[in-house]
Symmetry: C2
Subunit: 151 residues, 2 copies
């Protein structure tokens, strides 16, 4: 199910993307001004980041008089999903539940979010196993026999 070429966006770059995702499009000056306080970045720094994001294909640039307007090439939700996938893949499946608890604890969620999450969990409950084994040791792989690449 891997389609997108991952499009690795670094932490600093992510800050820039958030602005442009929110505004739909923005000049580098706009981004600079908005991030100046929060990040204490010089305009030059923002320009570098914007340039890298264009090169990576995360932003597209449209000329607008003397400057460019930058637009996202992928949606924020899509990027967040990809990032969360990569995040989850890296962690012990046995302990991921506790980690999700932690994340939910420290996040503000809307009534609707919570309702959706509860519904999803209730559905999941129907087929959930008693225990999720730790998958940190490669040889304890739990894949279907025959399908597993590792064995």
């Amino acid at each position: 199910m891997e389609i997108s070429p991952a499009l690795n966006i670094s932490n600093a770059e992510w800050q820039v993307m958030r602005i442009i995702w929110t505004l739909g499009q923005a000049s580098s000056q706009t981004v600079s001004q908005l991030l100046a306080k929060k990040m204490a970045w010089k305009a030059a720094t923002v320009k570098t980041l914007v340039g890298r994001l264009v090169k990576k294909g995360a932003l597209t640039a449209k000329r607008d008089g003397k400057r460019y307007l930058y637009q996202p090439a992928i949606s924020e939700q899509q990027a967040m999903n990809t990032a969360s996938e990569m995040f989850v893949e890296q962690l012990c499946q046995h302990k991921i539940g506790k980690t999700l608890e932690k994340m939910i604890q420290e996040t503000t969620l809307s009534q609707q979010d919570i309702q959706d999450l509860i519904s999803m969990l209730q559905a999941k409950q129907k087929t959930a196993p008693k225990e999720v084994p730790c998958n940190c040791l490669p040889n304890k792989c739990q894949c279907q026999p025959g399908t597993c690449q590792q064995n």
Copy 2:
């Protein structure tokens, strides 16, 4: 509430940590053997990673005859929590709910995990707002007036 000095563990290093967390302690050879298949790393690579982890303070080394046995200096759950905190901080609060849904969808959770998550969400529901505003634009900061560092 920031206590730990973050202790930045890279992706490749994380693979090593998972093995040692799971075994409690391990020689670099053990780690090599376990990761050889999964990661196609040479023994030298694993040694580099182990060395860096010791330098970073993520592992401690105890002599054991000719070699060392390495032990985690922080718990896996703690490291996962720190990682998840950093992950969440970087994302749009408005869209984090959908991202959590995505994570839950693609994760296998135990009955107990699901039960705990549901309870937590039900409690959270009591004080949850109707909408969580996007916090991507610094000037739309939602902090308490007076407490906010940004304004």
